[in-house]
Symmetry: C2
Subunit: 214 residues, 2 copies
């Protein structure tokens, strides 16, 4: 049987994994809301972010209790400290999904995404989902090799982000300034979402090995 201390540590892992599930669902729904101009879906992303924030508060409370009542050392101490960092990143990823959903809501019933940018946004959404799903697996499995692989998906996100800029800066861009601004911000939200997922995976590497990925 596990003692209360190790149960607390396990519950910390479970909560972080649950946060990855929720923020994956959030960016998935936000992307669809954006592409389909689906107001109801956008609203669901915005209202359900409170769940993510609630779990993060649980994480913080658990960490504080663990620190105050126990004296975690070595890998457990790193686990507790990095859990705080991972929770912060995941909470932010939820916010970024909300930002995407808010652009969808603002432009509804119009679409914020002109035809020539749609496929890039679809791909950015898919990579965002892949990154956070992998980050969740890394937290659960403490798999360092898998954690180091996230960089490749992040490179793909950066390439898509540059493609998005080329689209709005193309000579034949016919939609003017406002959609260009929307797309600039949306591109930034996906890119930041991906960066935070990579940071979560890096935190797993640090937790397990005690040293940072290069």
């Amino acid at each position: 049987m596990r003692d209360a201390y190790h149960e607390d540590l396990d519950s910390l892992t479970d909560k972080l994994v649950e946060m990855t599930r929720l923020v994956r669902s959030a960016i998935s729904r936000a992307t669809t809301a954006l592409l389909d101009s689906d107001l109801q879906l956008a609203e669901s992303v915005i209202s359900r972010d409170a769940e993510v924030n609630g779990i993060f508060e649980d994480v913080e409370t658990t960490i504080f209790d663990l620190m105050a009542r126990q004296q975690p050392v070595a890998v457990d101490l790193r686990m507790v400290i990095t859990a705080l960092r991972m929770g912060t990143d995941l909470e932010r990823m939820g916010d970024l999904a909300v930002h995407v959903a808010k652009v969808a809501r603002l432009r509804h019933p119009e679409s914020a995404i002109p035809a020539e940018a749609r496929s890039t946004i679809v791909e950015m959404g898919q990579i965002a989902e892949r990154l956070v799903t992998k980050a969740g697996s890394c937290i659960a499995s403490r798999d360092v090799d898998a954690a180091l692989e996230l960089d490749q998906d992040d490179d793909a996100m950066d390439r898509l982000h540059r493609r998005l800029f080329r689209t709005i800066l193309a000579k034949d861009w016919a939609h003017g300034v406002e959609p260009a601004i929307d797309i600039t911000l949306i591109g930034r939200y996906y890119e930041r979402y991906a960066d935070h997922a990579v940071r979560v995976a890096s935190a797993v590497v640090y937790m397990v090995t005690g040293s940072r990925p290069a």
Copy 2:
């Protein structure tokens, strides 16, 4: 005489205050680089960000040592945990100043900021400096009332951010899409910089009182 434990805690405060000084200087120089198209100044912001990152690594090491060797409780434990959060926010503020400087560098010898947006950028730079200076004072003094006042400056930043969007969306905007994209991103960097400064101040409130500001 202070014992080693309290000296470590004090040094943590000193390092965080030093981070606020460096990232204040960084956003100040980045703003000037942007407005004056000063390439050398932009480069200095970019290269000197390593100092901020170095101090943050010191902060993390100090926190880890403190946790591993001592058992901080109550306000000291909150100090150590929130120091990690404040350090993360301050490190990010350094990155955001670098992002502003990189736009200046990208557009040099042209200016990224057309005349009609300059006064708003000047004000955003000033509020960013004011916010981080106040955050630094709050860390040093642990002054909760002062920490709660940062929200007002942040509201002013949000108003300037909206004004910036009105400028680039105005009917007489004659600069096309590319400067609008630059300004959209720059506006976002200042707004995020301000948000992180507010988070630092909120962390001071939590550290001192044990409860979060509403």
